[in-house]
Symmetry: C2
Subunit: 313 residues, 2 copies
């Protein structure tokens, strides 16, 4: 629970006092209206507390289709009433993100890369604030390239690290570089590993996750439109990453970890590896196998949620 | 026309010799198959020269809906046979990007931010290479925040600059920072300005475009989940940007300019401004006005294409 200064709050917001303060922006309370532009939602046009006030778990991932699938899956897992086909995209008026609400679970797509997920996180965190949500846990479920792991292995992130293996995220604010920690919630990570042991359907490890800003050159791939290095130089970089504890590579974890940490949100990153980068660069695994791999982080998170809701012992 | 070393080319690719070489990767020609994973296309599964060999203009933009609209618009403008409703998404099997082909024009969405567009550009440039395209011009049409301009003004980018107003793009390759120039094609920019004069429907300027990696803190907005600066500090940063020739802010131009330049592709960035950032941060313009604004870069590019195809004098 973050300490909140009473004199920062207008009278309208006095009911917020007992609440965790997710946003860190003194300007927000003086705004007459807040338009969450990329969600096509707003504080004047939508009753955000009524729509979202009961949210306890938020699950985010790159692909809109995958996040719809997750919403339908969690609907079945929680045995909620109604038809899964009726779950509608709350952001259907915009094509920037897709958002689905299923009981206390929100499922949102974030596109690819740090800037894309950061826009979504700003608006999501403001949404949770305006809706007066409490005790929310965030999960990023994604796909990744593995380092020294069999394809299909799930990696629960210990530390999210940058391309230089540092557990930090650099944010440029008004032309100055600000450095933020990318530590994630250790307890949630341990609980997720325990969930994997209980499910015993696929291999799961805890390891560091490297977040890059490019899929080809930035991840040492030899198959981009541009490549200026040799196979040996690529493998040397991946070996160094492995020595630094990196077990997988994706493109969103550092800013996700950094923003959740600053905003007092418990968070975890759970990505399945689609290939072992020591073996190659191209993703040539058959479609049905990829679909099964992508369901693995979803199964872990569903199990976690069911345990927290008391649906399983 | 870039010089091509004969000894870099396998016998299979000898017909490429007369062609502009868009890719800069000596590994590509030794690959048996190239899977363009995020397009769901590949050299073994698709006849790329037959599908794409006649492409002369590629238009990219963030939103999938907008790029479908552009494809339908250009279909009408070029007076092509067939129904606009039959134009199908070539990448419909994946939700990462949308792609539409209309005669010699390819329209592709790229999502938001540098990493998202960079994945698309790698695969697009390889696509143009595999399809043996020549003399291709690329356009990014987008939305942006304006600096000191009336909303609805179109900015044709002179130089794409970073958050420090430098005309460069930093790419991390195997843990080392590589700096690339972000200069765009001056002739194409001038021609586009001339198109605007001929259309005379909306104000258009040539100016520098700042590319940031964050929409809120990174662009000096006061309305994000996080904000640690004052209104005065924000305005001071925007004034400095204006003094450096920056007329609008978006999130993809530097990597777009840098990759096109390295790959010998003529390129231009044309973005409409949705608001004047000296006046505010929130995008509260009515939906129908925004839709009209967003059509402006499309009109400019359509006019350019029609002139180049000899459809208008």
């Amino acid at each position: 629970m973050a300490p909140i200064l009473l004199n920062c709050l207008g009278t309208e917001h006095s009911e917020y006092i007992e609440q965790e303060q997710y946003v860190k922006n003194p300007h927000l309370d003086s705004m007459e209206e807040d338009i969450l532009y990329h969600f096509n939602l707003g504080t004047k046009t939508h009753n955000l507390p009524a729509m979202f006030g009961d949210i306890k778990f938020v699950c985010v991932g790159g692909s809109a289709n995958r996040m719809r699938t997750f919403a339908q899956f969690i609907h079945q897992e929680l045995e909620l009433p109604g038809n899964v086909d009726d779950i509608r995209d709350i952001c259907e008026e915009t094509d920037r993100y897709s958002m689905y609400k299923v009981g206390p679970v929100l499922s949102i797509s974030h596109g690819m890369g740090v800037p894309s997920i950061s826009i979504m996180l700003h608006e999501l965190i403001k949404l949770l604030y305006h809706a007066r949500c409490r005790d929310v846990v965030l999960f990023r479920i994604g796909t990744s390239g593995g380092i020294g792991l069999a394809p299909g292995t799930v990696v629960i992130t210990d530390k999210a690290v940058d391309s230089f293996f540092r557990p930090q995220f650099e944010q440029v604010v008004l032309g100055k570089v600000i450095i933020r920690s990318t530590e994630l919630d250790e307890e949630v990570a341990r609980e997720l590993l325990q969930c994997s042991a209980e499910l015993s359907g696929f291999p799961t490890v805890i390891g560091n996750t490297m977040c890059t800003h490019d899929f080809y050159e930035g991840q040492g791939r030899l198959d981009g439109a541009l490549c200026s290095f040799s196979t040996e130089e690529k493998l040397e970089y991946l070996r160094k990453a492995h020595e630094a504890g990196v077990r997988n590579i994706e493109m969103e974890s550092t800013v996700f970890a950094a923003m959740c940490r600053v905003c007092n949100l418990k968070a975890a990153v759970i990505c399945v590896t689609l290939l072992n980068r020591f073996e190659g660069d191209q993703i040539s695994t058959p479609h049905d196998v990829l679909v099964e791999y992508q369901s693995r982080p979803q199964c872990l998170v569903a199990h976690f949620i069911k345990k927290h809701l008391g649906l399983i012992a």
